[in-house]
């Protein structure tokens, strides 16, 4: 009996490359079309049809490799992976085997115990298979939809460096983040554009040799990946503790039963007999091209958050929220850089923090996300114009919210709205003083309370003044003046 076991996990992620057309033909990759609307002789595998690689797919695959620290091969090979299943018309899938495009990368994952480096063995380019629909037709037939066949994918194979379901989930989230921020993948797990297979084995803690692994196929949410791996580790421990042996097999996660189940696979299922595809000459990417893609690599999410914390004084939490989607991050960057252009040092921190708060509180709720794009209620430049009015004390934060709803409604600019509705705040000291004195005179009881030490009553007076000025008084001035006048004996 072994006292404790250690899990060894490696992940294979299939991520769809964000292109308009398929990997080897001009058919659209758009999701959700009627079955077999996006098919042609190439992706149907009709005799004589020849594949021609999509330059953008290759560029995106190189970008993914560089973002994940891989060596990118100037010459790689497409190979045929041979198997018979009705999701393949040709009888083989075009993939890469001996000479993949990217190899030897790594991803640093933040864990409660610290940062851990997870090795990436390889990232190769391949075409997706067709989709089989079971039990939807009138009869018992399996229906085959080739719209997805030939869609460009990268397969990202990790080293078996992960030791728990939590580590696996953290790795996957980070990987998805990087692929989305680099525009490689839209991160949509539901539509299957980011899919994960997990290889799981256990061994007595401290052992160096690997145990027999099982492969869990196609789990489509981060939560389910974690649950499936947790379940599989527990299942393997139970098998071993009962004196049994783990069988190398493919298992599938059942969402309804919350456990993994063995898939009936034929004994030869993994004998793919790879060989170089004679239809495709070597894939050559010039070093200059690789360097250019590297130089144009967008800022990665970690770097972005670090910069926001350092330059704009954002908290880790704010930085996380604002970088949850690349379009939101770009939007915030645009707003912040427009606002902070003139500000420096500490002032810049304040401006950055206020912009972060405003975007989180007033904008995020209105954002409609669609893949890598997002629709914002107002353009970044228009929001910057609004927030600049707050920074210049032309309006206060409360009025800003009102102006924003007006902007969303009418599409007008902030300055025009403030002008037309006379919302510019009262900064005229005389007018504010008159309102403050009136509030003090009207509430002697509260004045007495304040002077007796109950300074929280100050908020009540601020409210009274704001009400009297219909929210247009500069709150900083109101506060200062109230303190001054209430403090008088």
């Amino acid at each position: 009996m072994v006292s404790s076991y250690e899990a060894v996990i490696g992940l294979e992620v299939h991520a769809q490359l964000h292109t308009k057309s398929k990997l080897f033909c001009g058919c659209a990759t758009a999701y959700g079309a009627p079955p077999n609307a996006h098919v042609c002789p190439v992706c149907l595998g009709l005799p004589g049809a020849l594949p021609v690689p999509n330059a953008e797919a290759i560029a995106l695959a190189v970008r993914a490799g560089l973002a994940l620290g891989c060596d990118v091969a100037t010459s790689s090979r497409f190979a045929r992976k041979n198997y018979f299943y009705p999701d393949l018309a040709k009888g083989y899938q075009i993939s890469q085997f001996e000479l993949p495009l990217n190899a030897r990368g790594a991803l640093e994952v933040e864990l409660p115990s610290g940062t851990k480096r997870i090795g990436i063995t390889r990232i190769h380019v391949e075409e997706d298979a067709a989709k089989n629909l079971h039990g939807v037709g009138a009869g018992t037939d399996t229906l085959v939809d080739f719209n997805r066949a030939g869609t460009p994918l990268i397969e990202i194979v990790s080293e078996p460096d992960l030791r728990s379901a939590e580590e696996a989930e953290a790795y996957l989230r980070k990987l998805r983040d990087i692929l989305m921020f680099t525009g490689v993948n839209d991160g949509n797990l539901e539509e299957g554009s980011f899919r994960c297979d997990a290889n799981v084995s256990i061994r007595p803690a401290g052992d160096e040799t690997l145990g027999t692994r099982t492969e869990i196929k196609n789990v489509n949410s981060f939560r389910f990946v974690r649950m499936a791996i947790e379940h599989e580790i527990a299942r393997q421990q139970a098998v071993v503790e009962a004196g049994g042996e783990v069988v190398q097999e493919t298992r599938t996660w059942s969402e309804s039963h919350h456990k993994t189940r063995s898939m009936r696979t034929k004994e030869d299922a993994h004998d793919y007999r790879y060989f170089p595809d004679p239809d495709l000459p070597p894939l050559v990417v010039a070093q200059a091209r690789i360097d250019a893609i590297g130089a144009a690599l967008p800022e990665l999410p970690d770097a972005k958050r670090t910069r926001w914390r350092a330059e704009l004084g954002l908290t880790e939490y704010d930085a996380q929220v604002l970088s949850a989607h690349p379009a939101v991050a770009r939007y915030f960057d645009e707003v912040a850089s427009a606002l902070c252009a003139q500000a420096g040092g500490a002032a810049r921190d304040e401006v950055g923090k206020r912009a972060a708060n405003f975007v989180q509180a007033e904008i995020l709720g209105h954002v409609e996300q669609a893949g890598l794009d997002a629709r914002f209620p107002v353009p970044a430049a228009a929001l910057a114009e609004l927030l600049r009015l707050v920074e210049r004390d032309v309006i206060n934060g409360k009025i800003a919210k009102r102006v924003l709803s007006e902007m969303i409604e009418s599409g007008e600019g902030a300055e025009a709205i403030v002008e037309r509705e006379g919302l510019a705040q009262v900064t005229d000291a005389g007018a504010i003083e008159a309102a403050v004195r009136a509030a003090i005179d009207a509430h002697p009881a509260q004045v007495a309370q304040y002077r007796a030490g109950k300074t929280a009553v100050l908020g009540f007076f601020v409210g009274q003044v704001m009400k009297a000025t219909r929210g247009a008084a500069n709150p900083k001035q109101v506060n200062a003046l109230l303190r001054e006048l209430l403090g008088e004996p």
């Binding site: 079955p35 009705p86 070597p282 894939l283």
Partner: protein, 96 residues
């Protein structure tokens, strides 16, 4: 090359070989492998592997959507069609 190996390769390629065919293939494939073994004797240390007979880099195409086949035409040669899809005898991946 053994008859068992030939039967395994035939099974993987979904070829239904009769006993006499297995015998002939065993001899033929054995001869081919023997010839390859002769080539193995050549010293190619330091020679770049040749993956393709044509000394060409793969030409690439621009990422532009081109018209697909008309669906009726795409499905025209299918033995069975249902709901706009190719209908094939039931395959089941998972135990249910």
């Amino acid at each position: 090359m053994t008859a068992d190996e030939v039967r395994k390769v035939a099974r993987l390629a979904r070829l239904d070989l009769g006993p006499d065919e297995v015998e002939r293939m065993t001899a033929d494939l054995g001869a081919i492998l023997a010839h390859m073994a002769e080539l193995d004797a050549v010293d190619v240390a330091g020679v770049e592997p040749t993956f393709h007979a044509v000394p060409l880099d793969a030409p690439l195409r621009e990422d532009r959507v081109a018209p697909s086949l008309d669906r009726e035409r795409a499905l025209a040669a299918a033995p069975r069609v249902e709901a706009g899809a190719f209908a094939v005898p039931k395959v089941l991946e998972a135990d249910s």
